[in-house]
Symmetry: C2
Amino acid sequence: MALTNATNNGRAVRLAARSNTLSSPTAGLAPSYLQANLIVLPRQYATDFRLLCARNPVPCPLLAESDRPGSFNELKSYIRHPSSSSPVTVASDIDLRTDAPKYRIYKDGTLAGEAADIVDAWQPENHVGFLIGCSYSFDDALSAAGLTPRYVAQGFNVPMYRTTVPLCPAGVFVGGTVVVSMRPYRSSDITKVRDITRAFVTTHGEPIAWGWEAVSRLGIADVGKPEWGDVPLTADGKRVFGCQDTKEEDDYVPVFWGCGVTPQEAVMRANLTGTVMGHAPGHMIVLDVQDRDVFPEVRG
Amino acid sequence: MALTNATNNGRAVRLAARSNTLSSPTAGLAPSYLQANLIVLPRQYATDFRLLCARNPVPCPLLAESDRPGSFNELKSYIRHPSSSSPVTVASDIDLRTDAPKYRIYKDGTLAGEAADIVDAWQPENHVGFLIGCSYSFDDALSAAGLTPRYVAQGFNVPMYRTTVPLCPAGVFVGGTVVVSMRPYRSSDITKVRDITRAFVTTHGEPIAWGWEAVSRLGIADVGKPEWGDVPLTADGKRVFGCQDTKEEDDYVPVFWGCGVTPQEAVMRANLTGTVMGHAPGHMIVLDVQDRDVFPEVRG
């Protein structure tokens, strides 16, 4: 199945991933459809992980989880339209074991490998899958407002950084810190950027920090050296953004959002026993829900 | 109306505050009844404040708010028993203008004074009152487990500190940081202390950090000099806890929880125009809800 950006919906992306036609990152695919991070845990850690998300909703917004331990195609949804009391079905035809383009498998806290699916590794009646909101979900709204994220315009992956901002611990999940994604914007556009992304409450919402002074406040050593994603470049694509000689570039400053890599990092840090799985960075599960379904302030 | 600790319920404390019989702090009054921080804002800031709480639920757990702008005795509750879909009524006979033992009034961002009530300052159809969870709510459960907080045993107010941990901003509420309360415990008791307080999800829950290394990680300059509450003392009550010569005392280390002073600080930092009000520190509004009503893991 060929994917054409302009016509994709979430299901088309999932089916392409399921049939292994798609094995690349999902940023920009199926505009306006929510994209989700996946974390799969042995059932004994599910309660603590749910609490970790509840205590840290900006970096770890929990969208849905397995309806019961072992469920990979029946999900319990936590998102709803604010004017409705019943949850929105995140996807009607979904298989958490196949619908991300690429997976990572960890055994006893160590990366064991990448895989196109996790059908064999999924343990019936044990594994619980969690879907976490992803900031790709608001890139389309930014683009529609004339504020296309630079990494999208340049065809790269968004740069992501470890910070020293502590997560609120929850049970076994202790010692985690917030991971952020970064998009450069002009200082004069920050109010607009905040206003647009504020509506996306379960996909990280408005930025958590912005400006050059935020870099040290967040404990980021070097904006030019992200821990995940691609090195950010200046608007002309020629130099590394954030280096000493580019800091004055066109009044652009770094703007930081909570990032769905945060819970993965927290899980890795907890040294859980057993098999833990997740999507490969950037290779998200795309849902049936569109931003306007759950964020009424987003212009449809 | 005389208050006897052993027999008080939440309503008795509210009525004593309403009649100005009670003008002292509420810690230890009406054990097992939830206590709440109060913040009263002009209506134009209500949406941003609600979002601030949603993005920072550990330091800013929103329990209830005015049913509509101007309401001081009809509240919309956000807490419920996990096995029920309908919210728990936080208090059936409540007046936000009179039921805290003492209030503070701020005008255009500056403290204008303290008052026994805010009946005259409350603006009809404008002011919105918010009730925020308070960690006094779990002190009784700690005491019941033989882990009486030291400040309770010594008859002081709990020490509270500004940290450098950033709050997730929300609209006008930018630049805030987390405020914490501190109770010293033996290192060997921390697992038990975490387990007991974890259940109190809307009254700050389990600690956000513990141990001497947490002090600098949170950006606290000196545990012996809290910004609010009383100076913490050693177990014998003779020296200041946390000073160089007392750090080895009986293996006690500082344990830090999110604190309901956080949203007050965030509001002050936002320099709002108009009249903002809150309870005076330590002088909470006590509710009808008991911990076992909303936290099923708490032994009743």
